[in-house]
Symmetry: C2
Subunit: 499 residues, 2 copies
């Protein structure tokens, strides 16, 4: 591994984050919440750390395939650590573990909080929470659409063909191009949502924070009652629309904004996403009507639309306590938690496309049982899916199941009950936010044992980075190679790239 | 499809079951419980139905590959239906749905019961419950070791090489040979357990019934308190040993009994089974010691060993109410419910070998990420696993997840709470018996809505027949082919077999 090159990139990222750490200062000044020093000190520490790394380590002209894993994992760890400082210095949280939990929850766009009440926080800290989502969301778009496909992670290479920018080439220059294109889409949507929320009477501060949390499918709100605080059908509709938008592959938006609206419907994953949303909304509305959960029809419809979109896109905003809904709704919502957004969106979870291929394979297997000599292929849209991708999805599921099982085992071993413990793991591993029971939509994670918080923080990170990235770094093989540069794998990508 | 040939086999099976229907009569006479007419009438109806089928339809010289699916599914449906008659005629159950549930639970060796109290049943009916397990267990051994591999179901073809009997050949003659060998092993173990239980002071009646339920990994007991009724370390040890034995691939037992004891440890699935059992036993004993669930150390150890073996082998016998154990034990036991026994055992669930290959694949994927140009293969023992088998396992998981999700959705939609509903599906789909909460180890299934019982009955059948078998019959493709014999698939197996 080119450790120097990796640390140089990490340093640059921390410098960038330090600039972002200054942005809450105007809010602190305006609302006079006395947090200016907190953010200034955090930013200075960030500059010292980041600057130190950049000065100590030379940038590498080219980073190798395997270095990508280290860059990705250390980036998120570095962000979570630096981003936790304002929470720690402001004294709004009891322990550093809590600060790291909240910070990781922000940068991974999870939205699980350890806070019982959020209104009591200084405004600038609330802004920082929302900003960590937005910053993390930017990272995820680049990660899933530009970096992971190059690393060949869990079927993500499939989307390479459809992407606007890079091909299987050197990491740096093309990634920057792709990032610039996708970020402009991201910024454009954020500004539009801010504007639309303000038209609905939301304050500038709340509009910015909620738009940040929506586009990143994060879920941190500036109110304990979340979006339910506004109690407005218009505002909920705006948020529903942008949650849905944030759950779509951003390269589709890129095409859409360039006038090729047909690319949405031509995308099979998008159609599956629309179908699943519609199915869940209808089922939940019918169930809540039959059980008479709400007095009014309109509230049933509103909460149904809102919660399904919020959970399926892994945002985690709330307008209703779905933990008090009938069992069938709870099962459906927990199942949707596993699905997550589309690949290339800011949403977490297993992703629609993996599920789609999973079931396509089951269908092909059934057909093969009836016609044993027929050779079947699986297509996604018009593209034939290679077997390697299918098998990498099997591997992804194995890691996913193992992670889910081990994390749940540890959390419940610490005395957490089974519904709380298992749904807390589901909610963090899939980057959603709320689970059920003691971590339900009107609850929080603050009361969990510290070790459980550490495990759940790891789940957020692993889930966000598609598991493989984190697990690869935990294998001795990865580090053994790093220590023996003579055995370094000849990089196919590098060798075949004309200079 | 050769409908006539399939119905002829079904008729013969029903005739055989009718003979078994006569065996409770001596018990009825001895205990004078007035059930002789019930069993006689049931047997006569069975003979009429079975005889009618045998006389109306000619046996086919050879049955095709696709006919196998129909034979398997209709066999279990036919057994469940005929086996429900004694329950219905004796009037011990409220509805025919309950009778079918209990009968299917018997023949699929699930062991879920709709009865709150079992001691109040006539002795002969208790014997019949145990006998349905034993009869079903015989069916399962033949199914998994001789029929499913021929049908190419979900990776089961892998064991063909290791089996004592058949090769990929015509169904009938070789299957009979295999069946005879494996049944003699099954009978031998059953007789040994009866003897050992009687040496521990258990009555002949209880010994027979419990041995039947153990070797079939069923779980029906003649006492509401299950094996806990005897409150004897010796009896529990005997049952633990034979539950463990019943969870092992029966072809290993065949080799073992012929003196090749080394074949056990050479089998990688067996080693994984031993490892997983040991891991779960130790974890649960430690957790129960820390939580102080029991006053005495010996009881903690005894219940730990018993419950792990009972759940992992999908037997479902109880000596303790594990629903009152600490959360980590409950999560571990529920996770073990998915695993099930080894392939080729009478145990249900996903099977150890599938899980083993699943995780081997994850490991290979991780290695491939680090060495992208290396070509990896997966071995099971010394045999290289073909890609087709790996991919068929992916298909199996997809069907499994879909079945689990849909069944849980329907059961909870009927108003059952989420823990009860989801664990009831887990317990029936994996052929275990008890779940948690309202279907926990000291509870029963009788209070569930009738439609939920129908769904759970379907889960038992589908889980027992490795999903594919049942789902294939539900595809229009299967029946479309059947209607158009001119398009009938050329049977590779038949064509290549020299007469």
């Amino acid at each position: 591994m080119r450790t120097g090159g990796v640390l140089n990139i990490l340093g640059k990222l921390l410098l960038l984050l330090s600039i972002f750490l200054l942005t809450p200062i105007p809010f602190s000044y305006y609302y006079d919440d006395g947090m200016m020093t907190v953010f200034l000190v955090s930013a200075i520490l960030g500059v010292m750390l980041g600057g130190g790394l950049v000065c100590s380590f030379q940038p590498e002209e080219e980073l190798g395939y395997r270095d990508g894993f280290a860059v990705v994992v250390f980036s998120w760890l570095g962000m979570a650590l630096l981003g936790a400082l304002p929470y720690y210095f402001s004294g709004v949280m009891d322990s550093f573990v809590d600060c790291i939990f909240e910070s990781m929850s922000g940068f991974t766009t999870t939205g699980s909080t350890i806070l019982a009440q959020v209104e009591i926080l200084p405004k600038s800290v609330l802004f920082w929470r929302a900003l960590t989502h937005w910053f993390g969301g930017m990272g995820i778009i680049v990660l899933t659409l530009a970096i992971l496909p190059l690393l060949g992670i869990g079927g993500m290479q499939l989307f390479q063909a459809e992407m606007p920018g890079p091909t299987k080439d050197r990491l740096a220059p093309r990634i920057q191009d792709t990032a610039r294109i996708l970020w402009s889409v991201y910024v454009l949507f954020t500004l539009t949502e801010i504007l639309l929320l303000m038209l609905g009477g939301v304050s500038f501060f709340d509009a910015v924070c909620h738009a940040f949390a929506t586009l990143a499918t994060g879920g941190f709100s500036t109110h304990t009652a979340s979006v339910g605080f506004f109690d407005s059908a218009y505002i909920e509709s705006v948020v529903i629309f942008f949650m849905f938008v944030a759950g779509v592959n951003f390269s589709l938006h890129y095409h859409g904004l360039r006038g090729r609206m047909s690319s949405y419907w031509q995308n099979e994953e998008f159609r599956f996403y629309v179908f699943l949303t519609a199915f869940a909304v209808v089922t939940i509305i019918i169930a809540n009507l039959i059980y008479g959960t709400y007095d009014s029809f309109s509230q049933t419809v509103r909460t149904g639309f809102f919660q399904v979109t919020s959970i399926l896109t892994t945002t985690g905003f709330g307008t209703a306590d779905f933990d008090s809904w009938p069992p069938v709704c709870k099962i459906l919502l927990v199942s949707l938690m596993f699905v997550g957004g589309c690949a290339g969106s800011t949403g977490g979870g297993i992703k629609h496309v993996r599920l789609l291929l999973f079931f396509k394979y089951a269908r092909l297997q059934l057909r093969n049982l009836i016609h044993p000599q027929a050779v079947g292929t699986i297509k996604l849209g018009k593209v034939k899916v290679p077997r390697e991708v299918l098998i990498s999805i099997l591997g992804f599921f194995a890691l996913y199941v193992a992670f889910f099982f081990l994390a749940t085992l540890v959390v419940t071993a610490l005395g957490v009950d089974i519904v709380t413990g298992s749904t807390a793991v589901v909610a963090t591993l899939n980057n959603i936010g709320p689970g059920l029971h003691l971590v339900g939509p009107v609850q929080h994670y603050g009361h969990l044992p510290p070790l459980a918080k550490v495990v759940l923080t790891t789940c957020m990170l692993a889930g966000r980075l598609e598991l493989y990235t984190v697990v690869v770094l935990l294998t001795p093989d990865y580090w053994a190679m790093a220590k023996k540069p003579v055995l370094r794998w000849k990089q196919g990508t590098k060798a075949s790239t004309p200079k």
